[in-house]
């Protein structure tokens, strides 16, 4: 694949948004120790759209948890906007998630028996956004994912595709620096999956939100600008692509 010349020239002096250097992650101890990551190096620039692929158990989710500041590396360094995440306290990492990160999970992970609107408002509540502004932004986010008119419905009353769109609305309502999605289309049929991918592309293109997404399907990975292949806890290939036609 061809390299993206314009990107490298524009941001030559700036630090990358995300920088993993020789990151390892070990679960358990002694004989039961399990090395999920064996020295991952990864740089992600602002505005990128990265698809992470690889066989099951290759360490994709582990890497995403570290990128999402939900977990810390056993060794190596993770710099987010130049800040060493491994040295932050639990609450500092929570604040980092609150202000810079958005999550979309495979299982949607919406609050049950809570309306779509309230689900989307949730991250704004923790940011202390005033009520009126919160309602407005949550409505706009739901509109952006094509759920205008569904604000009052609870997850139980929505289809899988709709639930995932609520989850995306919740992730982008704060206009995060990075959106992390671990198999966001894992539970959806291909038509629904394509809709979701179109949405992610839109947010990446129009709002410049950096996206890192894990997927099994090359059809979905094709929407991304860059594909990173994991294998046995290491980055095997890292391909940059041109604009999606």
């Amino acid at each position: 694949m061809n390299t993206d010349v314009s990107d490298t020239t524009a941001d030559v002096t700036a630090r990358p948004l995300i920088e993993l250097k020789d990151v390892t992650k070990v679960y358990g101890q002694g004989h039961a120790a399990m090395q999920a990551l064996r020295g991952v190096d990864l740089r992600i620039e602002e505005g990128d759209f990265v698809a992470v692929m690889g066989p099951s158990g290759s360490g994709k989710s582990t890497c995403m948890n570290i990128l999402g500041c939900l977990d810390t590396p056993t060794a190596g360094s993770y710099l987010f906007k130049g800040v060493e995440v491994g040295k932050l306290s639990r609450s500092q990492r929570a604040l980092l998630r609150r202000h810079y990160l958005g999550f979309v999970f495979q299982g949607y992970n919406l609050l049950n028996r809570t309306s779509a609107l309230e689900n989307v408002e949730l991250p704004l509540i923790y940011r202390g956004t005033p009520t009126a502004e919160r309602h407005g932004r949550a409505r706009k986010a739901l509109e952006a994912v094509g759920l205008k008119g569904w604000e009052g419905h609870t997850p139980g009353e929505l289809s899988g595709g709709q639930q995932q769109r609520v989850a995306i609305a919740r992730a982008i309502v704060t206009e995060p620096a990075v959106l992390l999605a671990d198999e966001p289309t894992g539970n959806l049929d291909s038509a629904r999956s394509r809709e979701i991918m179109e949405l992610l592309c839109t947010f990446n293109r129009d709002q410049g939100i950096t996206i890192v997404m894990v997927t099994h399907e090359s059809e979905m990975a094709a929407y991304a600008k860059r594909i990173v292949q994991f294998m046995d806890g290491l980055v095997k290939t890292d391909e940059q692509k041109g604009e999606v036609a």
């Binding site: 999402g68 977990d71 929570a94 998630r97 609050l111 049950n112 923790y126 202390g128 919740r170």
Partner: protein, 403 residues
Amino acid sequence: MLWNAFLLALREIRRNVMRSFLTILGVVIGVAAVIVMVTLGSGATAQVTEQISSLGSNLLMVMPGQRRHGPGGSSASAEPFDLDDVMAIAGEIGSVAAAAPSSFQSVMAIYGNENWATSVTGTDNQYLTVRNWSIENGRQFTVSELRSGKAVCILGTTVQKELFGGQNPLGATIRLEKLSCQVIGILKSKGQTTMGTDQDDRVLIPLRTFQRRIAGNQDVGRIHVSAREGTSTEKVLKDIELLMRERRHISPTEENDFTVMDMQEIAATLTGTTKILTALLGTVAGVSLLVGGIGIMNIMLVSVTERTREIGIRLAIGALEREVLMQFLVEAVVLSSFGGLFGIVLALTASVGLAGILQIPFIFNPGIVVIAFLFSAGVGVVFGYFPAQKAARLDPIDALRHE
């Protein structure tokens, strides 16, 4: 943040109305029990105090026979008092304000077709003062009626109602056994004692009339003494004992063949007993409130487990540990405070009802209501803290994976 936590708590409670209700039932009952016990207890204490003071202030009672050594005693064999004893007590002891004789007997009171079994007391006007009776209607005895033993009587309100119904009894003549006597006054009602005896079921006649026409002797059954304001009843008691020993020629080696009782002392003992009882019952009720708190902790722990994923989502999105802690703590406190409020409503309703049934005055005690409410909220804090902390310390990754 606190306001948000409060709204969240309300929503969570509304979502599980039935379970929330069952959760707080323990606190409801605990708070209700504490308030009912204390309310009824203070009602009973007030009633005892009321009744004792209605007997008369600084009252002492002198009776023949030694009553200190258990029931029965030797009252039957002891020599009775006479009017001279009364005069001696009134005249020779400086700190005695008044002394009144009384002798009584059960009689059948008859007026027209109505008859009523009651008791007749032979006494004088001092009795009214000493025992704190006042005349509602009519008048007390005149000096000449007392001296000559006229056939006149003063009725308690129960006797008046039973014999006369709505009619005016003043001036009418009733019969007490063989004695016909004219009604000259009606006593002001005092109601029942704690033990349930009706204090208004009585007829008063002059002592002399009683001695001559009913008892047929010169005896005085009891002497009621009131000590002067500001003097110690203990001192008066000692003086009366000394005087009576002398008058009854009791040698220093012999025991008293009479008893002097200090009503104030009895009152103190009685109110002390009711207060101890109230405190005891209140404590037992407090324990039930504590058990209610454990119920809340139990359900909150279940709730935390059930809502592990929710907690995971909140933490992943950027909720701080203390924000999640606050959410669950506020929920526990709101729950238990609701329990407290329900308990207070229940308790006040039950107290009014029970006070009516037990014939105890209902005394609203705002202090105990406030304390019970604060205590219930405190139960929420104490028993909500552990589950809330458990929720806050969850690992977001594990919590999200939880099914």
